[in-house]
């Protein structure tokens, strides 16, 4: 029967989902291979780097498409639908844990970062940039950070992010701009040209 096996790696996500809903195990395997790693790291980022929790969420997410494949709207993109389901799971977890970090960091259009006169370039190493970057991402408003993460870490387009977050593209675009500007202002200490 292996001879007659379909070439699942050439199928679209939506086609695979269609086969999966009819009990095709190979379709499920292909979908898992495409999204398992990305979703694990997505959950890990959104769930405070808790790997164990992230793995549980990956299991629950794929269990959902096994148990209720009909919940997928075939008119939508599978990728955005999948991310939106994952995003909702994270939101539910936030509510459950009643953990809302840094919710008051909405960036105003006339935001100006604090001008710390101290020259930190000579004091920190390049490896510190990552830590500062993480810190600023956490300090950022969630609605900006999630757009930034989806854009840069998960590689989604503006349109896909808009679908995942159920917002219009203009909103997503402005959020991404402010997130980028905030990070640039916050991390300008690491720019040797500025601190020369």
């Amino acid at each position: 029967m292996q001879i007659l096996r379909k070439k699942y790696n050439t199928f679209s996500d939506e086609d695979l989902m269609n086969y999966l809903s009819k009990g095709d195990k190979f379709a499920f395997d292909e979908l898992y291979s495409r999204y398992a790693k990305a979703m694990l790291n997505y959950f890990k980022r959104l769930l405070w780097n808790d790997l164990e929790k992230a793995e549980d969420f990956v299991h629950d997410l794929f269990a959902k498409i096994i148990q209720k494949p009909e919940s997928f709207d075939a008119s939508r993109s599978f990728k955005t639908w999948f991310y939106s389901v994952a995003n909702n799971m994270c939101k539910n977890e936030y509510k459950k844990q009643e953990v809302r970090k840094n919710t008051s960091y909405s960036i105003e259009p006339n935001f100006v970062a604090k001008d710390e006169k101290t020259n930190v370039l000579n004091e920190v190493q390049d490896s510190f940039f990552g830590e500062a970057f993480d810190k600023k991402i956490k300090e950022m408003d969630n609605k900006h950070s999630e757009v930034f993460k989806l854009r840069h870490f998960d590689g989604l387009s503006i349109k896909e992010i808009a679908e995942v977050l159920n917002a219009n593209e203009g909103t997503i675009k402005s959020r991404l701009f402010y997130a980028t500007k905030y990070l640039a202002e916050s991390l300008k200490e690491f720019n040797p040209l500025v601190n020369r």
Binding site: M1, Q2, L4, R5, K6, Y19, K22, G23, D24, K25, F26, F28, Y32, A36, K37, L40, N41, K44, L51, E55, V58, H59, F62, A63, I66, Q67, P109, F129, G130, F133, R151, H152, F153, G155, S157, I158, K173, L176, F177, Y178, T180, K181, L183, A184, L187, K188, F190, N191, L193, V194
Partner: protein, 259 residues
């Protein structure tokens, strides 16, 4: 703005930016210093993202096995091989009827069936050609056979001539030998044998009467055979060519009890 647009902006220098790009990005930077600062940070962020992507972890195999079990529990009745089964190879419910493999195979079969009469007609034409060729061959063969028969007949005639010569010489030897035997005994035998021979010969029907010269007898006075078998052989007939080897042998056998 898509990623590639941002990337393309940060790949340029501030001077290279068009007025439209500057106005579009006015929220992010107002002057060249701000642009350079943003560009540097953006590159750092890109490097950080790439670094973190390389450090991304793989999900445990345990998760997959648990999901596989869950899948099998959910789809117990629908076999895994359903879409890979042979039946789906022929009839795939997701394909249109003209794209079904069964339809294609059936179409090929029909075409093959329609081809059969044409194939037969081709065969008949071929046979016709072959028959014509065979006729030519048989004619040639017949001619060859005729020629060969002629050659064989010529050889036989030569053999017959040699046989006749041999027979004549044998008869001459026989006569010489017979003349030397006692005359009384031979004559009694000749008389008895000739009477019997003539009576038996008359009793034979026309069909049974031998036509061969070998058994034809003339008068008893001329016959010199001790058993009453008379051979019609005159000097002029002895030269005929119808004297077979078998007759010659029978003749010799008859002589055996006499001597």
């Amino acid at each position: 703005m898509e990623k590639h647009e941002l990337d393309s902006i940060f790949e340029k220098t501030y001077i290279e930016l068009s007025d439209s790009e500057k106005s579009e990005m006015s929220d992010l930077f107002q002057n060249e210093d701000e642009f350079n600062q943003l560009k540097y940070i953006f590159n750092q962020i890109s490097n950080e993202v790439d670094k973190r992507k390389s450090l991304e972890i793989e999900p445990k195999a345990e998760i997959k096995s648990n999901l596989d079990n869950l899948f099998h529990q959910k789809y117990q009745n629908t076999g895994v091989l359903w879409y890979n089964a042979l039946s789906v190879f022929f009839i795939n419910p997701e394909k249109k009827w003209h794209a079904q493999n069964l339809t294609r195979i059936a179409a090929i079969a029909i075409l093959a069936l329609l081809m059969i009469p044409f194939m037969n007609s081709t065969k008949i034409e071929d046979n016709g050609v072959l028959t014509a060729k065979n006729e030519i061959k048989t004619e040639g063969k017949k001619e060859k056979e005729k020629i060969e028969n002629k050659i064989v007949n010529d050889d036989n005639s030569l053999e017959n001539e040699s046989n006749v010569e041999n027979k004549l010489s044998t008869e001459k030897e026989f006569k010489q030998t017979f003349d030397a035997s006692p005359a009384e005994i031979v004559r009694n035998n000749q008389t008895f044998g000739s009477s019997l021979a003539s009576e038996d010969f008359d009793n034979l029907s026309a069909k049974e009467k031998p036509t061969s010269d070998v058994f034809l007898a003339e008068s008893s006075s001329l016959s010199m055979h001790p058993d009453g078998v008379f051979i019609e052989r005159e000097e002029k007939n002895k030269e005929s060519t119808n004297f077979s080897l078998q007759a010659n042998l029978n003749f010799l056998d008859l002589l055996t009890p006499t001597f």
